[in-house]
Symmetry: D2
Subunit: 301 residues, 4 copies
Amino acid sequence: MMQIGFVGLGKMGANMVRRLIERGGHEVVVWDRDPRAIAELARAGARGAESPEDLARTLAPPRVIWLMVPAGAPVDEALDALAGNTTRGDVFVDGGNSFYKDSMRRAGALAARGQHLLDAGTSGGVWGRELGYCLMIGGAPEAFAHARPVLETLAPPDGFAHVGASGAGHFCKMVHNGIEYGLMQAYAEGFALMEASPFEFDLAKVATLWNQGSVVRSWLLELAQRAFQDDPRLEKVAAWVDDTGEGRWTVQAAVEHAVPTPAIAAALFARFRSRQEQSFADRVLATLRKQFGGHATKPRA
Amino acid sequence: MMQIGFVGLGKMGANMVRRLIERGGHEVVVWDRDPRAIAELARAGARGAESPEDLARTLAPPRVIWLMVPAGAPVDEALDALAGNTTRGDVFVDGGNSFYKDSMRRAGALAARGQHLLDAGTSGGVWGRELGYCLMIGGAPEAFAHARPVLETLAPPDGFAHVGASGAGHFCKMVHNGIEYGLMQAYAEGFALMEASPFEFDLAKVATLWNQGSVVRSWLLELAQRAFQDDPRLEKVAAWVDDTGEGRWTVQAAVEHAVPTPAIAAALFARFRSRQEQSFADRVLATLRKQFGGHATKPRA
Amino acid sequence: MMQIGFVGLGKMGANMVRRLIERGGHEVVVWDRDPRAIAELARAGARGAESPEDLARTLAPPRVIWLMVPAGAPVDEALDALAGNTTRGDVFVDGGNSFYKDSMRRAGALAARGQHLLDAGTSGGVWGRELGYCLMIGGAPEAFAHARPVLETLAPPDGFAHVGASGAGHFCKMVHNGIEYGLMQAYAEGFALMEASPFEFDLAKVATLWNQGSVVRSWLLELAQRAFQDDPRLEKVAAWVDDTGEGRWTVQAAVEHAVPTPAIAAALFARFRSRQEQSFADRVLATLRKQFGGHATKPRA
Amino acid sequence: MMQIGFVGLGKMGANMVRRLIERGGHEVVVWDRDPRAIAELARAGARGAESPEDLARTLAPPRVIWLMVPAGAPVDEALDALAGNTTRGDVFVDGGNSFYKDSMRRAGALAARGQHLLDAGTSGGVWGRELGYCLMIGGAPEAFAHARPVLETLAPPDGFAHVGASGAGHFCKMVHNGIEYGLMQAYAEGFALMEASPFEFDLAKVATLWNQGSVVRSWLLELAQRAFQDDPRLEKVAAWVDDTGEGRWTVQAAVEHAVPTPAIAAALFARFRSRQEQSFADRVLATLRKQFGGHATKPRA
């Protein structure tokens, strides 16, 4: 049981706070830009702060303050807002999906003030509140040790680890998400091929079957099973797939380090393509075919 | 100047017959299922036949009969229709886009009758009538020698060659088309990236420029230049790209021979993707994201 | 408990026979070309046959005869060897990795004799003897019903299903393996990127961690965890990756059905590439670079 | 005829200086870190400077100074060395392969001093001295107008153009090189497939043939023709392919702008792969296969 500050009470953050309270009995001091998010967690047993400064002042040093805010500027803003009221030895944990080079930069800046940043790659999605969050932690070992009670509560058994120096946690999470893109793409291609075949497969049945002892069984396939059971031909959802920073960064890091990642890149490109209407590249192709072969093209509707 | 039979008077076939007459002064006996196609070429100086049998009887042995019909069953049907009235030593030329294994099979069957099949991969599209057709010929060298006057007329200077045994011509053309898919895809990706950039490029200007001394200059880029000059943002054409057998066969042959062809396969898959509406694979991805992350999806419109 | 014939006693087949005897108490009559394989299973409780004919005669009709022989000609040879001594209503099960179109052809030929073929895609590898084999069955429902006691013993709970008409089982297994290629490639790319990063990751630690609640947890990742624990830098194994028919057929079927499968194709091509020495394609690239840029190349050692 | 400064006398730079002198009769003042490079061009008619400062002082304002130095820090260093002795209205031309965002940054810094940067993507390789360099220019139109006489001499007819604001030239060249990667990869894959086929193709003959009227004819294919004529099986060169910044930046820009570039990425990854020994990713695959299937692996030699 320990005291912890928590900044950022979105869907993920709020779930994590609830888990900290319910499973660990921790004393959680929370703040968010949205007062309603604070009020809601106060009802769940958290202690609401009036401002980042108030949050910092409420905590006894050495503090552990978890940030669960969007990647990019919001992380810097949160750290800035807390800077004045925190002290040497305090530990910040960035549980969001920050770019690992940003985490390295921030850790360096905090270290100059005698403070720590743990970059905590967090996986588990909406299921994490119940099952626990898999936590990949980068940063100083002593900061990791200090935050351990919190990590133990948030993660499932053996579900957190110190994976390296500052940046390693978010790099690890970045690659985790890149792999996730590749895995999802492999399943998507396979199911699409079955759907296009003449066999009229019951895909919910196939997914369920594969989850029983086949080589491709996985948690993602359990989700696919559930999805096909709910909507056998996936008629409720549009073929529009968003992507987040980690997938892009994975490919860019692979290019930077000269590591071939064709399957992960294919997965990323499939998502880009899913969001295009009247793809320009495809229009180049159609136009060239028309030029050299007099091939039929479709006039633009 | 020689006598030649010509079966199949579609766009490509008719242009080739005209070139044979106009450029080579050959005597061309033509037949097609469509009597109007025959009549039209008769006006251009060809001699119309009333049937395949009539065509064969009209020609003096050893005959050269060029087939320009769709790949697959039509080639077998044409050969069957001509079988009874042709004799040992006759040479058939399949100038269409037949699968090379079919050409090997057919050459074997004809050889058993003392006849020859040249498989003539033909490139040049609608431009070939004026510029000549690049001809990649497989089959027996003596048959190639017999057909040489015709090949010389159809091709530009040095634009025909004997590339190997039966099947080699169509294999060579198949790979040619696979490469063509890859080249087109590379240009399409590059132009699409320029179009998506903040620089507001004039793509006709860029294509024109690149054709003057750059490493990527090519005939396809000249077509692209022409296309962008005609329709700077490619607004007249839909992002819908057909594919023909050769691209598919190239990838399948690559798989059969264990040769990695990632760029050509990417080009083929891009064409498949261009024709999908509400891609099933993308719906699998969108659904899985929703399952594990509660991520936003687009409801189907 | 039922009587069953079993032809093909390789590693997979022998394990399956043992499971049938030990878990199900079935009476298994076995045959293989290698008498030692028969003798070994006889010691485990199977009844050895002297020939395929003897095996067929030993079984009471309607027979169930499981074939676990290499894909291709061996399946046809086994069916031929058994044809004379089997009768109407008998059920053959092809548990190997046959091409689904072969299974459709064979089922048609057997149906003309009043016999059944179940095409049984079988997943589970060396772990199947203990954990059970995931079985994807195509063919006539009545044949499936007849073979059910055997399937129940071989599979884990809920680990077998009738997925469609003849061919559907092997198609389903083919796609399963294609997906498997894609999943493996995604993990391989991710671990390779981590290995190339400056963070000096302990990959066994990361794999272990990810198996606890992360989105990418799977059975394959459990194997990866085990592998990294055994050989942290994978120094015992060469970068040489075989492929089997299913991966190739998946890509070829995708091409046939115009379904984009870029990640699975990337996985297949990576395996092809892993087995090349002095790749010809790469030599083309190196040569072209030298031609146009005077770029440095490596002379061939 | 105009006066121009030239900094960077490597292979490309020296060839460009010679072309400026021989074709344009320009007065070229040259400097390089290597005095021998200066001396050699002095013999060819250039005027050698003793330092960047000397070079700047020698030129009459408004100056045109062409930089042909490696991308990255050398460009900044050259600009810094010239800053003190150049004046408002001077035009710097960066003809190297700089990253376009660097060019935008530099142009902004120079603009604050009343000076101009033209970013000049330069294509043509070692052939450029004879055939001219294709020049893609970004920057202020008035700077472009001032440098025009130089551009006219360096380029083939119509081989230079102003393609946009600062950065556009190097972006255009970056994409040009990305396309080049894709084109080369497509040819490499096609020739590799022909080489692996049973037809024993004469690839020099095929390349020569395709350059006569086929759809895939191009300058790169002319280089391939020359290469195969010189070394029919490409036995003199190793399968080791370098890459330069532009290919990587193209993929990273595509990821940044969410444009699918699967063929260009495949080309880049093929180059990465060509330089790996005992690929880690492939060892992951081999190890996993061994784990789940007991499949044969090759022990590390």
